[in-house]
Symmetry: C4
Subunit: 177 residues, 4 copies
Amino acid sequence: MPSIPDDIRQRATRIKLACFDVDGTLTDGQLYFDADGRESKAFHVLDGQGLVLLRRCGIQVALITARDSKVAEARGRELGARVFIGAKDKLAQVQALCAELDIALDQVAFMGDDLPDMAALRAVGLGVAPANAHHWVGSRVHWQTQAKGGQGAARELCDLLLDAQGHVDALLAEWGA
Amino acid sequence: MPSIPDDIRQRATRIKLACFDVDGTLTDGQLYFDADGRESKAFHVLDGQGLVLLRRCGIQVALITARDSKVAEARGRELGARVFIGAKDKLAQVQALCAELDIALDQVAFMGDDLPDMAALRAVGLGVAPANAHHWVGSRVHWQTQAKGGQGAARELCDLLLDAQGHVDALLAEWGA
Amino acid sequence: MPSIPDDIRQRATRIKLACFDVDGTLTDGQLYFDADGRESKAFHVLDGQGLVLLRRCGIQVALITARDSKVAEARGRELGARVFIGAKDKLAQVQALCAELDIALDQVAFMGDDLPDMAALRAVGLGVAPANAHHWVGSRVHWQTQAKGGQGAARELCDLLLDAQGHVDALLAEWGA
Amino acid sequence: MPSIPDDIRQRATRIKLACFDVDGTLTDGQLYFDADGRESKAFHVLDGQGLVLLRRCGIQVALITARDSKVAEARGRELGARVFIGAKDKLAQVQALCAELDIALDQVAFMGDDLPDMAALRAVGLGVAPANAHHWVGSRVHWQTQAKGGQGAARELCDLLLDAQGHVDALLAEWGA
């Protein structure tokens, strides 16, 4: 695992809710359209495994997208995550979740790659962008992953949270490493 | 943002209409076909956001493709752009748009990657090619982006136009940066 | 072909069954979903050719995936491989195959990229990961390919097995090289 | 354009028929399958343009694939190319085409990436492989492109043929360069 600055690890120890933008973050940003205008997108199996591990270790997971995307809803449901589609104000959605879960913004990680993620990224305890985020966003977050969106970027954040909160050795043992 | 030569920035200040080829420019050039010959293609969420920002800042946006592509039409409509499919003579289409909008070719940016884009690219005020354009085209445009088609190339042009026309600070403030 | 350490080649000489995880190993890890939640994935033609060559040279081939994936089933059937979907315990599946084929774990190669593959990878005679496997896995296998999953990683393992067992010259001659 | 060795250019001057394998040559090798086992694949717009230019300059174009692929048939038809699917013996298919067109094998270019292309590649006047062909093939052809299959490799061959046969200046002039 790449070396993580101490203050980022410190922030990661406090996280109880991890929120992910979808397009460009859980995907590589490509929106596939067919001739009828029907949309598809590609999620990565490494990221999905990471989200499942987070939940098993007691960290809540939410997908928050501004697009009205049934695809995101289907994938999120499969992973057991909360999914909020058509969320024009992502920070408001994060704040509503904090109220519901009775946690502070300081205990939230948010991962996103473009302007609509900016306010949430700047408000939470750990704002993260994938390697190929727009530079307006990449230059304003706490941490940027080495992997690109949809290519394991989300898994890098999951690994950081699992590591900072001391779950890795138990997971590896459980899976026969 | 990569440093932009002064004359390119100068050209960018005048643009009132930004035209984009589709395949290889707004996509990575891949044409997906299924067993029934039905076509799909992948657009990038970063590019889409850029086109939306252009329109909000008063720059008109048009998609111009020689293919008879319903996919391009659907995506363009979603982004609020004008879409011209089956346009065999792209320069003629640009000229018709200039007449309708009462602007000069000097105020048009065109982005394309291959021979069918050549005449339009050489006639407008700012001819731009994505990083992976055919070398016949890449060597004859005013500016070539660092990103490849369908991977943020169009967004780079959008960013240049927004920056040259002084809109970036207001956009960042509006989005909570 | 990249140079192969002697002990890896030694392990390869004994293999009679080659097992492959699907997502991230025979694919690049991308799970495509459409608006109805229907899943697609992409296999690589080089890998498929490798699996067919293995079988022609007397090495059994099995696909073993934890996902309940009809796509994997269809592709495996086309290649004449045994396919096990919804296999939550992959090592148990490998062991059952060993019993059926009357071979030892020492004669099995397994290729996988993430936690659910770990136990099988550590138990068999030749545990292999694609270049872009999760680092938890990549650091615990006998050998890691130069190619990424879904981009020829499986073919690299096939080539190693064919080469170590002395089939390459005959294959090349048969195909007119 | 990358510099071309003299003997390759010499071979290119004689070509009257250009044959292309499909998977891994006109595509990046990815075979997309949905849950019903239906296959899709992605062709590149740059390659398609190249094939159209070849035909306009009097060079015949054929797609020859061992797969029973309706997708290849649909794409080939759109480009006005001859298409032969389910061709288990590609060299025999090339020879039949030579007889029909009354040309010699010396006047044929063939592009392919794996074992099933080997015999044809070794028999024709100009055998070409994409950058990411299997090394068994890449090491036995006359020329290997810089681009990968499905990413412009076929276009590189088209450009070579057009250039060696003196068509480039006229094409550029016609398209307004």
